[in-house]
Symmetry: C2
Subunit: 462 residues, 2 copies
């Protein structure tokens, strides 16, 4: 492979080189994802089924498996220019620290106020809502990156936003709440008394600390019950992977610009939007039978969706109000141990990534424990400057492990990973790592089986 490496630390594409179209990997998949099913009648959902929940254009994108490229609206492209193209960084200091012959690059998505890649999809979803003349949106947020991103997007387009924030995160991260409010959003800890779903949960368990699944149920319930309001989701969905393809398109273009061909591409996977976006254009080569890198999805050992979950139809939320999607899942009632600090706590996985993993195109999923993740994060922060988000640090951990393998074998592999965001709002977790109170957690087989039993059994489907 071409081993010409630039002497620069950072490669920026010019604003003229900003992609004009998103890449829709579904148009190229050998086996399309199984259709989402209406939970009432178990029939494939249509645009009309989705329209009460999503803005119409986004409902169309969700179901689009034919158009390979979808144009990025000009207003979205102009917004992107505030922080994109994002830099591709040659991690020379990390290479030196590890004393490895490997070459390590990362695509940095944290250089905007939301602190992560989530803004890439938030602005598209807010744009189509505004275009449709909607007046408000609802969503859920866990660590708060998605909520912040959507608050920024809604603030920019003048839309009202109500965010259901997983209660334990809202309590651990009051400043995440404050930044969303500064951008004009209303933030409610979930479960809340504002929805039927929330009230039912609190009645049974007043101390319920919340989960993404519950927060989704609440946000969807409100969107359905409110005029001129829709729901938006920051990961998992096909539309979100579509928007996040901008990460991979820029990464591939920047690597080509400096004449570098990656051997391994690594991304963290919670709902899958970052990984799906990062690998999309490389996966296109793989699907076309061309040379392509080895793909690794990294997930927390405490929420091991790909490595220990089941590939089955399941609900996307706890309240079971969303359509059923076929994906790797731990069961919609799965909640990682509260000692889990590092995000990526969703019970399911993007149907697109799930299908690609099931079919062997996504080469590997690897589960890592959080103390090892924070060890990698702290080293990375010290030598590369940037304090990474715990989520991103999952990818750093595996990139470092692969680079250390190269040190043993002497191979000069080129490793590319996604640095999805910064950890400025995760300092309580960093503090617990540093003072030794952070522990690891791996669900027992019993716990997992109990949760997997929640997956619906539907006659004729599974």
């Amino acid at each position: 492979m071409n081993k010409r490496h630039s002497t620069d630390y950072k490669t920026y594409l010019s604003e003229e080189e900003l992609p004009t179209h998103f890449y829709n990997i579904r148009a190229d998949m050998k086996q399309d994802i199984a259709p989402m099913l209406n939970p009432g009648n178990q029939k494939p959902v249509t645009v009309s089924d989705l329209e009460p929940v999503f803005a119409t254009e986004l409902a169309k994108q969700e179901l689009n498996n034919t158009d390979r490229f979808i144009e990025i609206p000009e207003e979205v492209r102009n917004f992107y220019k505030m922080y994109r193209p994002s830099p591709l960084v040659h991690a020379k200091f990390l290479e030196k620290e590890l004393d490895t012959p490997a070459k390590i690059y990362y695509k940095f998505e944290g250089n905007n106020t939301s602190g992560s890649h989530k803004l890439n999809s938030a602005i598209v979803q807010a744009y189509y809502a505004k275009e449709q003349g909607l007046s408000s949106l609802t969503t859920e947020t866990g660590a708060g990156q998605w909520g912040t991103a959507l608050a920024m997007a809604c603030g920019f387009f003048g839309l009202d936003l109500h965010v259901y924030m997983v209660k334990c995160s809202a309590e651990q991260k009051p400043y995440r709440k404050a930044v969303m409010e500064t951008y004009g959003a209303r933030v409610t800890p979930s479960p809340s008394l504002e929805t039927k779903v929330g009230r039912a949960i609190l009645e049974k368990d007043p101390d319920n600390s919340g989960s993404l699944g519950t927060a989704i149920s609440e946000a969807v319930e409100e969107a359905l019950a409110t005029d001129n309001c829709r729901y938006v989701l920051g990961s998992v969905l096909n539309q979100v992977l579509l928007h996040q393809s901008i990460i991979g398109l820029e990464t591939k273009a920047a690597l080509e610009k400096i004449g570098v061909t990656p051997d391994i591409v690594i991304g963290c996977a919670g709902g899958g939007s970052n990984l799906g976006g990062l690998i999309a254009p490389f996966m296109r080569d793989r699907l076309a039978g061309k040379e392509a890198p080895y793909f690794i999805a990294v997930e927390p050992a405490s929420c091991p969706t790909l490595t220990r979950g089941t590939f089955a139809y399941d609900f996307c939320d706890v309240g079971k109000v969303t359509p059923l999607a076929k994906m790797y899942t731990l069961g919609s009632g799965f909640i990682p141990s509260s000692n889990h600090a590092g995000g990526l706590r969703y019970h399911g996985m993007s149907p697109i990534l799930s299908q690609l993993y099931h079919d062997g195109f996504l080469d590997e999923a690897r589960a890592v424990e959080q103390t090892k993740v924070f060890e990698a994060a702290t080293t990375f922060a010290r030598v590369e400057g940037t304090l990474p988000a715990p989520e991103s640090a999952h990818a750093i951990r595996v990139a470092m492990d692969e680079a250390l393998k190269c040190k043993e074998t002497g191979e000069e592999k080129t490793i590319v990973f996604g640095l999805t965001g910064t950890g400025y709002f995760d300092l309580a977790a960093y503090a617990s790592y540093r003072n030794g109170t952070m522990t690891d957690y791996i669900p027992t087989e019993e716990d997992l089986q109990r949760s997997l039993q929640n997956i619906p059994h539907i006659a004729g489907i599974q």
Copy 2:
């Protein structure tokens, strides 16, 4: 003036265009600053006087008024490449929001984990300490940006660091403490029981909430009492303005690259390092009699050093252990009201900027009230994406005011300001602005006079 404006939002210089030398404005000043005086004998300090406190090379830089350009060490340049050259941003969305014919640009220094321009000097100071074989450093920090920057720099070069953090800030910003600790620093709220100065203050006033002046005294005391240890300061000093000249050098080069000549250059001024660095190369033109922009220093109305202080010899710290510097000062005992949220709370001002202001080369100082500052900050965040540091938002306020004047007069002035950092650790202040509990504070004439009486009267000098 040349009004050709680029169509890009962001202008990045290439890494090859990163300045190779700092610019030392003292070599070009019409009237050099008055010498710092040894507080014991009131004689001008020498390198030998400063060596017990500062690394030797930095002591030399502090007194250097002859070398116009000073080379940036290669290791520092390599570190800079992690986050520099920093972007010059055309604030097109802000122009549209204000509906102004003015063109607005800002140099963004917040795209690194310290969140501000402070890292530019921190890495130089840590480098020279490491070169000299020192093992540890002490410093003070207020809002925490400087402490974070120095923690990053010391972490990078493997130096121990002890940070005295102004107590009210340490309490308001626990996560700032955590990020410094993640980079390996030890953080102590000031006043503390670790130093004589701290103990004396706490004995008189156990609830003393601290000040930068006190924290400086403690850090200097420890450095003097500890083997192989020196003190470093993040602003005010000549050496810091020297290092921060990289901001102005890059800004000028980027503007020239896109063919833009600024009419007004605006920076916030606490100790003066950001403003001094930003304007330095433009001021060089002014001092050489060439065309140059109009310079505005912006300070908080609650700590109005340039607008209401006195140009006189004063101590740089509360404990009166530092040399005397001739500067604009409110008296070394001045502490802004505790309702002041926005940084820039130092009682003095860079002697270089003080002299330039006194001599009429720095055209104007303007004091602004914090609610107006946060109003500007919130608008800026919404339309330009980035959540600004409250310090930086002082410059935004005045940039917006100048742009609004242009709207009235129809003038197409080009306004450049320094966006020194991000406000991710200032969300308590943003929250208090949003919920209406933030108030303004302007010291009464009586309060000021009482503080100004602390300025020493030294026979034969003042």
